[in-house]
Point group: D2
Chain length 259, copies 4
Amino acid sequence: EATFSLISGPCQLETLDHARMLAETLSKTCADLGIGFVFKASFDKANRTSLSGKRGVGMDEGLTILSKIREEFGCPVLTDVHDIGQCKPASEAVDVLQIPAFLCRQTDLLLAAGETGAIINVKKGQFLAPWDVQNIVEKVESTGNEKILLTERGASFGYNMLVSDMRSLPIMARTGYPVVFDATHSVQLPGGLGGSTGGQAEFVPPLARAAIAVGCAAVFIETHEEPARSPSDGPNMVALADMPVLLERLKALDSIVKQ
Amino acid sequence: EATFSLISGPCQLETLDHARMLAETLSKTCADLGIGFVFKASFDKANRTSLSGKRGVGMDEGLTILSKIREEFGCPVLTDVHDIGQCKPASEAVDVLQIPAFLCRQTDLLLAAGETGAIINVKKGQFLAPWDVQNIVEKVESTGNEKILLTERGASFGYNMLVSDMRSLPIMARTGYPVVFDATHSVQLPGGLGGSTGGQAEFVPPLARAAIAVGCAAVFIETHEEPARSPSDGPNMVALADMPVLLERLKALDSIVKQ
Amino acid sequence: EATFSLISGPCQLETLDHARMLAETLSKTCADLGIGFVFKASFDKANRTSLSGKRGVGMDEGLTILSKIREEFGCPVLTDVHDIGQCKPASEAVDVLQIPAFLCRQTDLLLAAGETGAIINVKKGQFLAPWDVQNIVEKVESTGNEKILLTERGASFGYNMLVSDMRSLPIMARTGYPVVFDATHSVQLPGGLGGSTGGQAEFVPPLARAAIAVGCAAVFIETHEEPARSPSDGPNMVALADMPVLLERLKALDSIVKQ
Amino acid sequence: EATFSLISGPCQLETLDHARMLAETLSKTCADLGIGFVFKASFDKANRTSLSGKRGVGMDEGLTILSKIREEFGCPVLTDVHDIGQCKPASEAVDVLQIPAFLCRQTDLLLAAGETGAIINVKKGQFLAPWDVQNIVEKVESTGNEKILLTERGASFGYNMLVSDMRSLPIMARTGYPVVFDATHSVQLPGGLGGSTGGQAEFVPPLARAAIAVGCAAVFIETHEEPARSPSDGPNMVALADMPVLLERLKALDSIVKQ
């Protein structure tokens, strides 16, 4: 089994220079450790808790930035799509189209994404049992596209809280596709701050370690040089400066599990 | 406080004649009991569990049928919309645009629906706390549209099961908008049949009675003359022949609660 | 089907005079409305959240008070038992022995209670599915005692919160035994106040109405002339002065459901 | 930080020879790997799902066996107590008294156990938030006993299922006491087999790895040479022959996390 990969970036795109800085730092750290790196950023946050949450730079500017990152750093790039019309243009600028968790059951979006031939990363809905991703997989496969990733990002657990059920990693792996653990969104407290979503950044490292110890193909950890200034998901981000130590430890755990 | 209304119909549109038969029977029953009636049907089921689930008649034919029902029976008509492009045409054919539960956080869809000026019925996501509908309400209100309905349709409770938290009815009512209890989808067993969603039709009447006893503006109960032959949601439908007795009892309970 | 009964009292016994005042007021209200009345009070609170929570008057004094209430007012009396040794003495002073929810799986306690021949009210654990009360029923029945009541008091729903699943009332009724809805403890917020359990008294009336509308044999509603001064469960109690209006409405709903 | 310890044994005591065989095998494996070993067995299963579940050898015979194991193998021994009267005799035969999860709020049992001066292992109830163990800790500490262990064994997640929230390990560790992860009972399916509790033994190794990667003081894994023949918890046991490989891997993960 291969070493795990890191999917990481700033959550929401800010500027080209900011994306460059993060891509450079992260790709170098990953190369030093011998782990794969996928750059992730969103050009639009289409489901912010409240209307006043910042939406992002928009699709045109966003895809331009993302394609430059891909070109300059040679790393695969991932972004999320929210409607059918975004799939084709996004697939020309990036390598991986991500289906947001709330939208994981929207048949037309899955088909439109699958038809681009890009790699499709489906985030399992907070309302979905891990064995039920099989139906989602079949929707994407029906387009002839079998480049699929499946991501655990927490299950609804009462109100305003998610729980990470580590059993879901081996259960989703029964589909035969690589499984990703999203340590950033799993520690969200949905709606927990009233008009925005809170988070528990202190649990990102232990949950990422747990997922690697269970066994997974990739971890998804958003980062920022100053999480408190991130336009979204700040409360559950790992500071960029803390990433090397965390990744080094994950690498060591991964080596043992995949022996 | 006004008597409650019934939102009902066949779930998925089949033919004009089938819609007519249901609209006629239901509108007559409601008129006899002195309760309001809103005809509901979907022209497309965009988030079926599996790809092989029947999708429906499509938007054009569906809206034609729905507008005829509105014209012939003089009752308000409700249908659900799944992307921005459907909002305008649907708003010309029906009175109420419904936002599906999985999509209740999609800002652009809420804004596009709100901008049509139609009544907007937002189903609370299975992953959302009832107090968090306030953020959704503000998204719709930002379009100047204050004709809003909020629907409870069950909260995630472990895997493959929902629970109806009756506290959510008074909590959502704090927004000042009418609250609907969807007794049909609250008894779904999501993914419970593998490739489709199971249901517990036997609990529709007791949960509908409970919601009326708590106090709500409307109940949503899908029906079919032969539930086992319905193209979707059959396992959680009430047979058309059983509706009059159920509604009569709901009317009696409602009268006591709204004294 | 018979009219529902009320199980009510002060939660924790304070003094004989206090118990008398409540028993007199409640039994008169119930007699006026034609509903049954069972006086309930605890002589010991054995599972307070924290050590500093008040425990109560103790078994000897408590049972003396309870037997006087039974004698003076002629109503059945209920109290809870926490270990085997309490079953026999308690069964001589009261009519109904209640098994606390946390203890509903303790075989020896169920057997000891059953063997006294008293009526046994088992509260379903917050961790138990409603269909699993069948195993509990069989433990009690094995003693030859078939005077059993089953009580719903909320199911764990994430952390620090319970949810009342109204489906549990008809599911537990399949055992053939009368089902009680405990509206007081269902609105607890376990551990919600740090060193004690919070509550949401405002939801007692709507949940009690819901349970009656679903159909149940009794409702359990603790009361106090000044809830804020009650030594336990104050945050989820209905004020004594508010009981008549609530009961009158429950009676009206019950009449419709049991027609 | 010290290497983790293993708490293990046959769940329910069968015979002295059987206990000896397990204690010998397990203590040797642990010694070889340099990890601590605590022998665990129950003399009575007081809360079996149904009455027909086997209860065990009883307290007198059980404590005799346990004290012989302690003497012969020199390892600490743990057993669970279910009522006040068992605390004193059990504390004379074993080193650690375990409070079952359903009983973790029973004040008198906690106090009686604490007063023996033995080490007290409290299993967190399936209905309890991890931050609420603070109140339990204070009950035990009030006896002057500060030899406390806290065990995670799964939280209620809908009906008939538990979920292991790995955040609970660092949260409970804030009390300052060692935290144990019970991988055996965390994979129970409570009531899942109708008259008994099912299990998912295949998830014991990945969850144990996850807990070690998060960081904990001990893991609790019940074992049997033939799990299918174990009188209780067979469906969630690891076969004795599979323990060495599992423990070796846990040791390697632990070394990395505690560097």
